[in-house]
């Protein structure tokens, strides 16, 4: 089994891709698909293996440049002979070919990729792009090629990654292609007249039973593929530490607050932050805690997919208010965790005591934190992610 190094994908695939297997990334036109191949190659090489990229869509130089934009050093791997190109592009656009292998005639494609597979036992080969091959060669021929490549790869323990754009092909052809690989990952668009989001889902894997769960993703430069969580909510009573939490958990954040008559600054509109954590990115919204701002709770909470409920562990008198806020933000319906903050204060209750006091069932995790010391903040994030996406 080899890890894909794409967040969540390894879990969906039951740990990764078995050696010798083929996997098809099948993308709706407009959805970013090449990065999946590149990120897998980069990860598998980092793990000490070798790999190649077959390209018939862009010259090797551009791919090197693209890797750079993600923060990955393909050039180094090329120099160390851990990676090589099968250049099926340059010749056809009239520039000098680069790479260990180059294709000068279309009918050499199969033979040369077979050679490349042989060169990297236990490695990974990226085929970018299968769709372009289909329109150059005829459909039946391409199916035959896929079969031959997969057979060779199986014998050689090489993983093959096919990048495929689902143009308006005959549905039978698409079905046929899918039936000739070991696993299929569908890359879909979420559209509202324009593409507003992208998601991936394992629709088929011969070695595992995928659960057909789609996750949203974003491609960051640098960074690569990240799971995108559109909105996480941070709510809880006044002075529980929500703003500090948003600030601590975020790479960037902004708070709309002011020093009130009380001596503490208090959030009067919201906190907004952006989190980048272990392959996940999320926008995070913090609500005000004071009752006089309750009219905006509902608005701020709309479309949130998960929630942090912050409490001051040393102030049990505010727990009732915390429960009221769960209700007002309709957070009962979404995955959530209780962040038991201010564990360092005298009289702070332990998570279990808080569970009793708030009469919460066991399904809602309670994470102890001292937010101002950054203590427990990452654990809180990981715990909510687990609630959202499972282990």
């Amino acid at each position: 089994m080899k890890k894909t190094h794409i967040p969540k994908l390894d879990d969906f695939l039951g740990g990764g891709i078995p050696e010798g297997s083929s996997i098809l990334f099948s993308a709706v036109p407009g959805v970013e698909c090449e990065t999946f191949g590149y990120q897998i190659l980069n990860g598998i090489i980092e793990d000490g293996n070798r790999g190649f990229i077959f390209t018939n869509v862009t010259e090797p130089d551009n791919i090197i440049y693209e890797f750079k934009s993600y923060g990955w050093d393909l050039e180094k791997y090329l120099n160390e002979e851990k990676a090589f190109f099968v250049d099926g592009s340059s010749k056809f656009i009239g520039v000098p070919t680069i790479g260990k292998y180059s294709i000068n005639e279309l009918n050499q494609t199969e033979e040369i990729i077979l050679k490349a597979i042989e060169d990297i036992p236990n490695g990974v080969g990226i085929i970018n792009n299968l769709s372009t091959l289909i329109d150059y060669l005829d459909e039946d021929h391409v199916i035959k090629i896929i079969n031959k490549l997969n057979k060779k790869a199986k014998a050689n323990n090489t993983i093959l990654i096919y990048i495929f754009t689902k143009w308006d092909y005959n549905p039978e052809l698409i079905e046929n292609i899918k039936n000739n690989v070991d696993a299929v990952v569908s890359l879909n668009s979420i559209e509202e007249r324009v593409i507003i989001g992208q998601g991936f889902m394992v629709t088929n894997a011969s070695w595992n039973h995928p659960d057909n769960k789609m996750v949203l993703f974003f491609v960051l430069q640098p960074g690569g593929i990240k799971i995108y969580i559109p909105k996480l909510l941070v709510t809880g009573p006044y002075n529980a530490g929500k703003s500090s939490f948003v600030k601590s958990i975020s790479n960037e954040s902004i708070s709309v607050d002011r020093i009130a008559l009380e001596k503490f600054p208090t959030t009067i509109a919201m906190d907004i932050g952006h989190v980048d954590h272990d392959g996940f990115i999320a926008d995070i919204f913090g609500t005000p805690g004071q009752e006089r701002f309750d009219l905006m709770l509902d608005i701020l909470a709309r479309e949130a997919v998960g929630a942090f409920i912050m409490v001051d562990s040393s102030a049990p008198q505010t727990f009732g208010r915390a429960k009221e806020m769960i209700n007002k933000t309709q957070a009962e319906a979404i995955p959530k965790i209780i962040v038991a903050n201010k564990q360092d204060l005298p009289g702070a209750l332990s998570p279990e005591k808080i569970r009793d006091a708030m009469k919460l069932d066991d399904t809602i995790p309670i994470v102890p934190t001292i937010v101002i010391e950054d203590n427990g903040v990452d654990l809180a994030m990981e715990t909510l992610l687990k609630q959202l996406y499972g282990d």
Binding site: P29, G30, V57, S89, F92, W167, I196
Partner: protein
């Protein structure tokens, strides 16, 4: 049926019918074709300049020339788009510069792709439409031209890209104008190509021939006139209008 101003003097008057006021049907797709050097690109540029002047955003996919060249070509007719680039009313996808080895600096509204990489081109079109759609639910969209796409891809692939592109822009509210030089592909592909569009405009150097398929009304309208290319762009001669219905 709502038509938008083409920006080409005489064109809107020529295309008046009982179904529409004249101009180019909003949110439709138009293939502009003809022999080389008959003014297809000029027509495209004139069309988007007219939109830009009214603060209508534009998504411009250029595949024959780099962005700088497009800018210079437009300058020849005093259509200055520098400000529209700066204030991001225009969104450029440059599908050729990096193939020709040109250095390209990506900006918010100027991105690079490649005619030889259709999947990437459609990703950029997806991002571009989203960007333009954010500012307006109607915009003008240019693809100039299909020639280079045909040069770098099998014919069927270009048809596939085009279908995906046309669907993407019309769903987002774009009015699309796509240029193509007659005779680049075989007659069969050309037939298929034309069938993908609501309207076709043929320029032959002397005559402009317009065909609009008003599917909703189950009616096809055709118009013809002669035209000249002046220092101010294309002018359709108003004395020789022919509505050939």
């Amino acid at each position: 049926m709502i038509n938008i101003q083409s920006g080409i003097p005489g064109f809107d008057q020529l295309t008046v019918s009982e179904l529409a006021e004249g101009g180019i049907p909003e949110k439709s797709t138009t293939l502009i074709y003809g022999p080389p050097k008959t003014g297809k690109s000029i027509f495209c540029n004139q069309f988007i300049y007219s939109g830009l002047s009214n603060q209508e955003p534009c998504l411009y996919v250029t595949t024959d020339k780099g962005i700088n060249q497009v800018q210079r070509d437009m300058m020849d007719f005093q259509w200055l788009i520098k400000n529209y680039i700066q204030n991001q009313t225009i969104y450029f996808i440059d599908g050729i510069s990096h193939l020709s080895g040109g250095k390209f600096e990506t900006k918010n509204n100027m991105v690079s792709s490649s005619v030889s990489n259709p999947a990437d081109l459609m990703v950029k079109v997806g991002i571009g439409t989203r960007n333009v759609y954010k500012t307006s639910n109607h915009f003008r969209s240019i693809l100039d031209s299909l020639n280079t796409l045909f040069a770098f891809n099998p014919d069927q692939m270009v048809i596939r890209i085009l279908k995906a592109y046309l669907r993407r822009i019309t769903e987002a509210g774009g009015t699309g104008l796509i240029a193509y030089t007659e005779g680049i592909t075989d007659p069969k592909t050309e037939m298929e190509l034309k069938s993908l569009f609501n309207n076709t405009i043929r320029l032959d150097g002397q005559y402009i021939h317009i065909k609009s398929d008003y599917t909703d009304f189950n009616e096809v309208q055709t118009f013809e006139s002669d035209y000249t290319i002046t220092d101010n762009g294309i002018v359709v001669n108003q004395n020789n209008f022919k509505n050939i219905n």
